[in-house]
Amino acid sequence: MDVLGGLSQFIPELALICGGMVLLIYGVFNEKNAGPTVSVAAIGVLLAATLLVAASYGQDTTVFAGAFKIDAFSSFSKIVIFAAAAFAIMMSDKYLSADQLSRFEYPILILFAAVGMALMVSANDLIALYMSIETQSLALYILAAFNRDSRRSTEAGLKYFVLGALSSGLLLYGASLVYGFAGSTSFDAIAKVATADGAGPGLIIGLVFLICGIAFKVSAAPFHMWTPDVYEGAPTPVTAFFAAAPKFAAMALFARALVGAFPEAIDDWRPVIAMLAVASMAVGSFSAIVQTNIKRLMAYSSIGHMGFALAGLAVGGPAGVSAVLIYMSIYVVMTVGVFACILLMRRRGGNSEAIADLAGLSDTDKSLALIITILFFSLAGVPPTGGFFGKFFVFGAAVEAGMIWLAVIGVLMSAVAAFYYLRVIWVMWFDEPAAAFERGGAAHLGFTAIVAALLMIPGFWFLIGPLKSAADNAAMALF
């Protein structure tokens, strides 16, 4: 009875699961030419799921005996995740067929990963948390190794799998400690035990292991080692997907686990998160300076961005969580846009990945150069782009909570990071032109890139208000 009642709240996820299954069966029977049809259908399924989430926006219930929570927070996150996943499928179409990778399993795997992520952001129980992370991760491991004839891709998949398994181990160990000391796996029950003076050392150790496990998933330093290799090795559309939706899901999960299960123990986890934030900002900013491959650059950039988002999480409280959601939403848009541009860097049939290949792009392809310029200034957080607003709210929350030192470190790191973003821009504008990229055909990618750039400026001047109120609303659901 309870289970069946819960299912009615799970229609978006059910739509994704059923859609994925049906498409799988269709694909098996039409293996030769199923690719494009399945892609379009998968995008349709994701759009339908997004609409279903939007239609039920604003409710606040728990289902499956409190294992999952459907509230504004999970709805907000699901909309971003589904949209990012839909764009990832759309962007990969042309690329995969050009490299003989067009298999119908690809969009289906993304659908299943999206199911995992949707569960992650609504998990309200340690077991639900673990199961949803694994649902997502299994799909991602396969995606990383999707180009199975490429040594780099299989290496990326293997590396991702081994380190992912390690992080799952840490997570499970932490979860078992927390369960042992709290006597329950439910976040609500843990929250009652983990009070400011009631949280014993056992619970704290469990909490720290839990944090380490999730930090792996968001690739926060010092748990970031896998990121550059996986980003570089995986096929570029897969990297585009990895960099956007799963990061958002893991960050949302992070927020719910900490704020939902350990609200009173904030003084215990805040220093840990702040340390992760500072380390990630530093690693992301300094290591990226020496990169020559744009995918590796984006990997370090994403580590840095996770650091900025974690700074918001370290603040805690509604302002901090809201800032995290705003930051991550903007990050997802920028990342999808940048990867669409990277996918457009095609030359002689292959994909260029070296930053040097962008030389003189402003001469050979002005619009692409302009879009990349806008997106990179946005990644650097230079006003008046959208990226600035993300940093503005995160550091605003930090300053408001009296963590001025964190804000100062953050802005200084963003100034360091500005250097390598500028490097890409100066290669495009100031260097002598290299051979031009191939033109035409990839209308989807151009569309994605243009939408992302327009969203960064000037769309953000108008959208930031609605986004902020939606994020505030979503964040309040956790408190």
Binding site: D363, S367, P383, V399, E400, V408, W426, F430, I464, K468
Partner: protein, 528 residues
């Protein structure tokens, strides 16, 4: 606040600010409409048309903005009122609103900006041949951002424009800068790239600290409205670090010694019009920031740290003047002299006296005309000879008498010859400084002597002597376009030098208000 802005009911300031952006979009649109061949390349003939229309659109919009700004100033602005006028406001993000307005301190900078952009467009008419439409787009975007800086009455909106103005200048220096190669941090890069990066990072690092301060003020007061914050008394301890955070940003922008080193690089590498904008307008953002934010919002800290500013200003005046004496490059020499002249500005501002502040404002306006004109003068010979080295010239007076006259006039203006606008500002700032600390005025006075030394040396080496160098034998005198530009600037500098009252009358009421505010802030803290 008055209701003059409401009477007009048209958001004039926003219109002025965003009109150039519209021009930039128009150029972009026009270019994308241009006929292309199969490879996406534009035929040379079409390219010429595209370039010419880009120039015309840019000129049309910058001149239009100038005319409208003068019209708005004459019809909508009342110089006898010290408060904010033409105020417009729109709700945006809770305590952060889109708010624009001008007072006596900013209105002249707005006019200076709208005046200098058409000059820059005309000055680059023939000297820029590559990527003309990109260049014009960059300049139009920059005009929008700079006008936004001077009109914004909300800290966050101000910050958006202030930081945003780095982007077009970064591209202008990097794309249209001069040639040359430099080794830096393992990268072999052209020196214009080095200058562009240095310019960007210096200013960016300075500004991010100001961002933290802005966030703190927002967290404390729940608003970023500038007029409200000017009336807020922040606790003395907080004022100290807030002041330093703002100082970090404006001191770099100004630039003050010892964070001035980006300026000579940027000036040398930038194209002529870029240097003009940099010297005439971008540097003024620093001084404007001190007057708009540091002084009224943190009066206690401003008074406390005035000696620090004095010391840095005096070092800037004397040290950079000495450095200017040793320069081999004309633009570098003028750049260092700019740093020295900005030293007078910072000194004047932090005297906290009416004379000092008015002198600083006047010095900024006058420096805009004079140094802008000097960079244009260098541009004149650079366009002909493609070198800025002083040693490459000599005896130009024989071939270019009109040019020599103009150059002499602006050199004298730079020295601070009475009768030209430069004198008024230097005199007033020193008079203000004398009241507060006679030693500061004493040392600053050396700057006047040194400026005569380096400016006259420059003039002698470039203009006098025998015309012996082979390439100079055929050099042509200024053409009508150059003559017109420099002539207009000369008239302004002369007018302000002989009769400074009109400018003074505009900012005087606002400076009075600022002084009252500043002194009230000091008193209320003294009582506490």
């Amino acid at each position: 606040m008055t209701d003059i802005g409401n009477e007009l009911s048209i958001p004039w300031l926003s219109l002025l600010t965003f009109a150039p952006l519209l021009g930039a979009l128009l150029i972009m649109f026009g270019r994308s409409m241009a006929k292309r061949d199969a490879n996406g390349a534009i035929a040379p003939d079409t390219q010429r048309d595209v370039d010419n229309s880009a120039r015309r659109v840019a000129l049309l919009f910058t001149v239009g903005v100038f005319i409208v700004s003068v019209f708005v100033y004459l019809s909508g602005y009342d110089p006898s009122i010290g408060g904010y006028q033409l105020v417009e406001e729109a709700a945006w993000l809770g305590g952060i609103n889109y708010k624009m307005g001008v007072d006596g301190i900013s209105v002249l900078f707005v006019l200076l900006t709208t005046f200098f952009f058409p000059i820059c467009v005309i000055a680059s008419w023939t000297s820029i041949k590559d990527r003309v439409s990109d260049y014009m787009i960059a300049f139009l975007v920059m005009e929008t951002l700079v006008l936004g800086v001077f009109c914004a009455l909300d800290l966050v909106v101000f910050y958006l424009f202030f930081e945003g103005s780095l982007i077009p200048m970064f591209l202008i220096i990097g794309v249209w800068g001069s040639k040359g190669v430099k080794e830096f941090a393992g990268y072999r890069m052209s020196s214009r790239v080095y200058a562009a990066i240095k310019f960007f990072l210096y200013t960016f690092i300075g500004s991010v600290l100001m961002l933290v301060a802005i966030l703190w003020m927002y967290a404390q007061t729940g608003t970023t409205d500038v007029p409200t914050l000017q009336q807020t008394n922040f606790p003395a301890g907080a004022q100290t670090w807030l002041w330093w955070a703002f100082f970090a940003s404006f001191a770099v922008k100004m630039p003050m010694w010892p964070v001035h080193t980006w300026l000579p690089d940027a000036h040398v590498q930038a194209p002529t019009a870029g240097s003009v904008i940099l010297a005439a307008i971008l540097l003024k953002m620093g001084g404007y920031g001190f007057l708009r934010f540091s002084l009224p919002m943190f009066p206690l800290a401003s008074a406390d740290f005035a000696p620090v500013v004095f010391a840095l200003s005096v070092v800037a005046i004397i040290y950079t003047s000495l450095v200017a004496l040793a320069q081999e490059d004309m633009k570098k020499l003028i750049a260092y002299s700019s740093v020295a002249h900005m030293g007078f500005v910072t000194m004047g501002i932090f005297t906290g006296t009416k004379q000092g502040i008015e002198g600083a404002l006047f010095q900024m306006i006058s420096h805009g005309f004079i140094s802008g004109a000097l960079f244009l003068c260098v541009g004149v010979v650079y366009d002909r000879m493609h070198t800025r080295e002083i040693a490459a010239y000599g005896g130009l007076v024989h071939r270019m008498p009109a040019y020599a006259f103009l150059f002499l006039f602006f050199t004298m203006g730079n020295v601070g010859l009475p009768g030209i606008s430069g004198f008024v500002g230097e005199f007033l700032t020193m008079a203000g400084a004398f009241k507060v600390n006679a030693w500061v005025a004493f040392f600053a006075a050396f700057g006047v002597i040194l400026s005569a030394a380096y400016a006259l040396r420059l003039f002698r080496q470039v203009m006098y002597g025998e015309l012996t160098k082979e390439p100079l034998m055929t050099i042509a005198d200024v053409n009508n376009r150059e003559l017109a530009l420099l002539g207009i600037l000369m008239l302004f500098a002369l007018y302000l030098g002989v009769y400074p009252h009109p400018a003074m009358a505009v900012f005087s009421p606002s400076v009075d208000l600022l002084m009252n505010n500043f002194n009230a802030g000091l008193l209320s803290a003294g009582g506490a």
